[in-house]
């Protein structure tokens, strides 16, 4: 769970996009994981310099494996290494999974609306997977704001999961869209047209960059969603968002 650094083995890597990659880690002992949690990753340079960053967990496979999906920040201190250089057989120091706030638990029964911007979709994907894994009856909706079609993480799995009656995904393309689909930043009207109505009192999870999270939460409140039902997470980690 928590409390100390452990050495995890990198057992798989998968390119999500040209700048993002999913890394499968195996920990030395069983992992307790709640969908939405993150891990801290610590890198140590030969001279002893250490850098710590937080990454959302995209999913876990009991008993001891979990996946993080990392988007490369060009000026980053840690993410370029994780996306470009890390290989199967390498090891990483990991603390967690941790966090008890931005989490979805299968014992919750209310409908769930997820709103993700860019790589903010990662912890939401963990919730979508946990919902599917549990065969959970509550309606789940994901509104996914993304730059372009080739920037979408987890696309084929999302399409497969959306065949289930309880889950649906809507994409908002901000820079370039597939033929025939609109392009433009998420705005209040698009949000209103694509999220669960506040009348069904859904639990809402919003994750993305600070500006995205603040705009979306403001619009949700204007749509009648109670601030108490909206949980937000901005990306970034201890030590800077890289």
């Amino acid at each position: 769970m928590s409390g100390m650094w452990r050495v995890a083995d990198v057992v798989g890597v998968h390119e999500e996009t040209t700048t993002a990659r999913t890394i499968r880690l195996r920990l030395p002992e069983p992992v307790r994981f709640l969908a939405g949690q993150h891990v801290d990753v610590r890198l140590t340079a030969p001279d002893g310099y250490q850098a710590v960053r937080s990454y959302s967990v995209a999913g876990a496979t009991p008993p001891d494996s979990l996946e993080i999906t990392v988007d490369e920040l060009p000026d980053g201190e840690v993410s370029p290494y994780l996306v470009r250089d890390l290989a199967v057989g390498d090891q990483l120091e990991v603390r967690g999974p941790v966090g008890g706030w931005f989490v979805w638990r299968p014992e919750e029964t209310s409908p769930v609306q997820l709103v993700g911007g860019g790589s903010g979709v990662v912890p939401l994907m963990a919730m979508v997977r946990a919902h599917a894994m549990a065969g959970h009856p509550a309606p789940f909706r994901l509104l996914y704001s993304v730059r372009a079609p080739e920037s979408v993480f987890f696309r084929s799995e999302l399409e497969t999961l959306a065949r289930d009656d309880t889950f649906d995904v809507t994409y908002v393309y901000t820079r370039r869209a597939p033929d025939g689909e609109p392009v433009g930043r998420l705005d209040a009207a698009t949000l209103a047209a694509n999220v669960l109505n506040s009348g069904s009192d859904p639990a809402v999870y919003v994750c993305g960059a600070t500006g995205f999270v603040e705009a979306v939460s403001g619009w949700l409140v204007e749509l009648g969603h109670s601030p108490d039902r909206i949980k937000t997470e901005r990306y970034g980690g201890v030590g800077g968002a890289s």
Binding site: V39, G96, G99, G100, W101, E233, G236, V238, G240
Partner: protein
């Protein structure tokens, strides 16, 4: 003021000291009385110590200073914390 993170990002460092997750606890600001989960407060990591500020009044809620194998945790900005147990 510089860009900030969510208090959520303190979950790892605080897991070094607490056996349960403290970021989900509700903290009452000693300055303005606003009540919010620690995970939703604003975390500044540019300073030598990590500083958690109240989103309502900007007052310092928590200061976490880690150096030389010692950790100094200053919670004096809170009036109190409400922690869900079990």
């Amino acid at each position: 003021m510089s860009d900030y993170l969510d208090g959520n990002a303190l979950a790892g460092p605080l897991s070094e000291v607490f056996s349960i997750d403290i970021t989900a606890a509700l903290g009452k600001c000693g300055g303005c009385g606003a009540v919010r989960a620690l995970a939703q407060a604003h975390l500044y990591v540019d300073a030598p110590a990590k500083i958690l500020r109240c989103p309502s009044c900007g007052g310092v809620l928590l200061r976490l200073d880690e150096r030389g194998g010692r950790l100094i945790l200053d919670l004096s900005g809170f009036a109190h914390l409400t922690i869900q147990v079990g």
